[in-house]
Amino acid sequence: MKKVSKLLVLVVSFVLLGTLSYGQCRTFAKSECKPALEPYVHDGIFNATELSEGESAELYKTFYSNQNYRIAICGDAQLPKIKFSIMDADRNVLFTNAKHSFKRVWDFKMESSQQLIISIEVETNDENISDEIARGCVAVLVGFSAD
C-alpha cells in the first residue's frame, strides 16, 4: 500500500508541476512581456512555451498591410540570451536581433499583408559550466497600433 501511495504522490506531483509551470509562464508573460508592447495594443493572443538552452520554437502569424506592429520576446531570467528572427513564408530572414544586441522588441510596418514566421531560439550558456540545463518560459507577444 505504501508503494501505491508513493506512486500516487508521484503522478499527482507530475500533473501539478506541469500545470504550475504553465501558470507561471502565463503570469510571466503578462507581467514581464506585455508592458514591453506599450504603446501598442496587445492582440490578446497568448503565445508562450517552455524552452531549454539550445531549444527553439516558431510562431506563424499573418500581419496586415499599412498596420504598425511591435513584436516583444521575453524569457525567464535564468535563461541565456534569446535570439529571434523574422522570416517570410519562404524562410528568407528579414530581421534577426542577433545583429542588434539581442534586443527584445522589433517595430515594423507592412506594405502588403504577409504571413511571417517568428523564430525564437534560446542560446546555450557556454560560460556557465554546469550539469544543469537552464529551462524557462519564453513568450512572444504581438501588439498593433489602434490609431
Binding site: 506541469g18 490578446g44 497568448f46 512555451t49 524552452l51 504598425n68 523564430s119
Partner: protein, 301 residues
C-alpha cells in the same frame, strides 16, 4: 495484493498518458524530405532543428479595426443576438459562440457602441463561466469597462485583456483545443461581418482585399485546429465545416512579390516593402460570402 499491482499499473499508465497529452502540442517536427538544392537544404535543416510550432490568429479587435479603416460601416443587425446565448449547452457551442460574441464585442468597440459593448461583455461573461473561465471576465473587468466606456483605447485594451485571460487560462488548464474553438468562432464571425458589409468587388475594392487577405490567416486557423483533430471530435467537426471556406479561398489568387526591408534609423521602425495583386471575380466573392454566412449561421444556431 493483486489489486495493488493493478492499481500500480493503472497509475503508471495514467502518468504516461498525462505526460503524452501535456507534450502533444509541442513536438512538431517538419518533414525535411525532397531537398532540391543546397539553399533549400539549409532552410530545411533550419526547420528540422525546430521543435515547437505555434500558430497565432489575428485578434478580432485588429480585424474589425482594419475593416473600419477600409471603409466598413456599423450594422448592429449583423450581430449574433444576445438572446441566443441561452441555446448554447455544449462546450463546443459555448466555445464557438464565446468567440463569435468576442468578435461582435470587438466590432462594437471599434465603432464605440457603448450599450452594445456592455451587453456583449455580459453575455461573454456568461458563456465564459459556462466554460469554467470565471477569471477571464470577472466583475473587475466589467467595472473597468463601465468606468472607461467613453475611452475607445481603454475599451479595446480591456477587451484584448479578456482574450488573453481566456486563451492563457485554457492553455494553463491543459484545454488548448477549447482555446482553438474560441479563436475559430471569432475568426469566422469576423469573416462573416466583413463579407456582409461588402458587396461589390470593384466599388468595395479595399474591403474586398482585406477579406481576401484572410486567406493567409485561414491557413493558420486550419493548422491550429489540425493539431487537435485526432483527439477532439468537436474540432474535427469544425475542420470539416471549414471545407466550404477552404474551397472558396482556393479559387481566389493572391500574387505576391518578394519582401525588401528598409529601416528608419530615427524611429527604429522597419518597413517591409512588397506588392500584392489579388485576382477575384464577383462570382468568386459571392461564393465566399455565401459559405461564410452558412458556416457562421451553423455556429450560432
Amino acid at each position: 495484493m493483486r489489486s495493488n499491482k493493478k492499481l500500480i499499473r493503472l497509475l503508471i499508465v495514467l502518468g504516461l498518458m498525462v505526460g503524452i497529452v501535456g507534450c502533444s502540442n509541442s513536438d512538431k517536427k517538419t518533414d525535411t524530405s525532397n531537398v532540391v538544392d543546397e539553399e533549400q537544404a539549409q532552410k530545411e535543416n533550419l526547420v528540422k532543428e525546430v521543435k515547437k510550432v505555434m500558430f497565432s490568429l489575428p485578434s478580432p479587435v485588429e480585424t474589425t479595426l482594419l475593416l473600419k479603416q477600409a471603409g466598413a460601416g456599423y450594422d448592429e443587425s449583423l450581430l449574433n443576438p444576445t438572446s441566443n446565448s441561452t441555446k448554447y449547452n455544449t462546450d463546443k457551442q459555448k466555445a464557438l459562440n464565446l468567440g463569435v460574441y468576442g468578435a461582435d464585442l470587438s466590432y462594437a468597440s471599434i465603432f464605440e457602441q457603448d450599450q452594445t459593448i456592455m451587453q456583449y461583455m455580459q453575455v461573454s461573461k456568461k458563456l465564459a463561466i459556462g466554460l469554467d473561465l470565471l477569471a477571464a471576465i470577472d466583475q473587475s473587468i466589467i467595472d473597468r469597462l463601465e468606468a472607461n466606456h467613453d475611452n475607445r483605447d481603454s475599451v479595446i485594451r480591456i477587451i484584448s485583456e479578456t482574450f488573453l485571460n481566456s486563451n492563457s487560462t485554457l492553455k494553463e488548464d491543459n484545454r488548448p483545443e477549447m482555446a482553438a474553438l474560441i479563436l475559430a468562432g471569432g475568426w469566422v464571425e469576423a469573416l462573416y461581418l466583413a463579407t456582409q458589409l461588402t458587396k461589390d468587388v470593384v466599388k468595395d475594392k479595399e474591403l474586398v482585399e482585406r477579406i481576401v487577405e484572410q486567406k493567409l490567416s485561414f491557413g493558420e486557423l486550419t493548422q491550429l485546429l489540425g493539431q487537435y483533430t485526432e483527439q477532439n471530435a468537436d474540432i474535427a467537426d469544425v475542420v470539416a465545416q471549414l471545407q466550404g471556406v477552404s474551397k472558396a479561398f482556393e479559387e481566389i489568387e493572391i500574387v505576391k512579390s518578394g519582401i525588401e526591408t528598409v529601416t528608419d534609423e530615427a524611429s527604429g521602425t522597419t518597413v517591409l516593402k512588397a506588392t500584392q495583386k489579388i485576382n477575384i471575380t464577383q462570382a468568386q466573392y459571392d461564393a465566399l460570402k455565401k459559405v461564410a454566412a452558412d458556416l457562421r449561421n451553423s455556429f450560432i444556431q
